[in-house]
Symmetry: C2
Subunit: 209 residues, 2 copies
């Protein structure tokens, strides 16, 4: 993906992509920037500016060809380069994320989960196996265990008290990106990137504006 796309444009483009998928389901072949803008209650000029990043162009009075625009967004945002990921913590949130069908469409392929609960080990969620957490290093570094693919991304959904210890295990297991759904601020080496999924911040921003 092109690293020069601003964060907010990426987020809006994924929402346009949702809308376009919905159009295809309904059999609509064209959509106008005005229609997208109305659905998201944002400015029409913003929509056109974002779409221009994909080098897609609309036709006067008809709008954008839905399928073409959808593919252009996918190319721009790199949805087609599948990246394998682990989920650490198979509780409610971990399970919900493992079932999140959207991820696969957008290039994130959850290949396995890890948990400490013996009753969960060797069971499956949405076709993905749950391994014992202490085996993380072994599973992560023996590529043949999980589809022979290198896994560099982990979604961390363990309880807050277990977060730092899990992050250390991830670091030892050659994970490079930790998507942190816990409220704990993790301390990791400089070569590991943490994205704090800050639901509370999103909520405050929402009710504030």
């Amino acid at each position: 993906m092109n690293a020069s796309i601003p964060s907010n444009a990426i987020k809006r483009l994924t929402l346009y992509h949702h809308i376009l998928s919905d159009c295809l389901l309904k059999g609509n072949e064209y959509i106008s920037s005005q229609h997208i803008a109305e659905l998201l209650k944002i400015d029409d000029s913003q929509v056109r500016k974002d779409i221009a990043l994909c080098a897609a162009s609309g036709k006067t009075k008809v709008g954008y060809a839905v399928l073409e625009l959808k593919k252009a967004i996918e190319r721009l945002l790199g949805f087609r380069e599948q990246k394998a990921a682990f989920i650490i913590g198979a509780g409610n949130l971990g399970s919900a994320l493992a079932k999140h069908t959207d991820f696969q469409d957008y290039g994130l392929d959850i290949v396995a989960l890890f948990d400490n609960d013996p009753t969960k080990i060797d069971t499956f969620i949405n076709g993905k196996k749950i391994y014992p957490l202490p085996k993380l290093y072994q599973v992560a570094t023996h590529e043949n265990l999980v589809n022979k693919r290198k896994v560099e991304i982990a979604l961390l959904t363990v309880p807050a008290a277990a977060a730092q210890k899990s992050a250390e295990l991830l670091t030892q297991s050659q994970i490079k990106y930790i998507w942190n759904f816990t409220p704990t601020i993790l301390s990791v080496p400089d070569n590991v990137r943490v994205c704090n999924e800050n639901l509370v911040g999103n909520f405050l921003d929402f009710t504030n504006n």
Copy 2:
């Protein structure tokens, strides 16, 4: 809360708040902007700029008083004004959100859940009762049913196919804010605000930068 605070500053301030809570647990009375910046791998000057929004000031060589700064952030972001909310959909994600202890600390009080699964009705998650979804209007408009409090916020976690219908039920039930965790773009009247919780967008932004 002060409506002039930029979205990104709100998100960073909630992360600083996480760090300060952790400091208090560890018995640390002071923290420097450099330390916060290092933990989040952001720029020190950014941290000082954000903290200046709270009108909190640090002491040379000692840093900020943790408890004082924590309270200043709470005042600035309005964490102490509790807002009541419903969760629509008591599946994995709804259950995870109902158990999310952070929300209450940040002013979001989940008072009830709604679902269509008869085996879930009248059960409790984290002390919160699950009501039948068709009773939403009745529960929402008879304030005495739920702590005699007016509820204007709903977290929507139903399957995508049920999202629009649920949004219509929410609109009829006088909900003003829908925090949409489904991938469906909702069509709602102008007096209802929708916040699309765009996990996929967050992920793409994360692995892109």
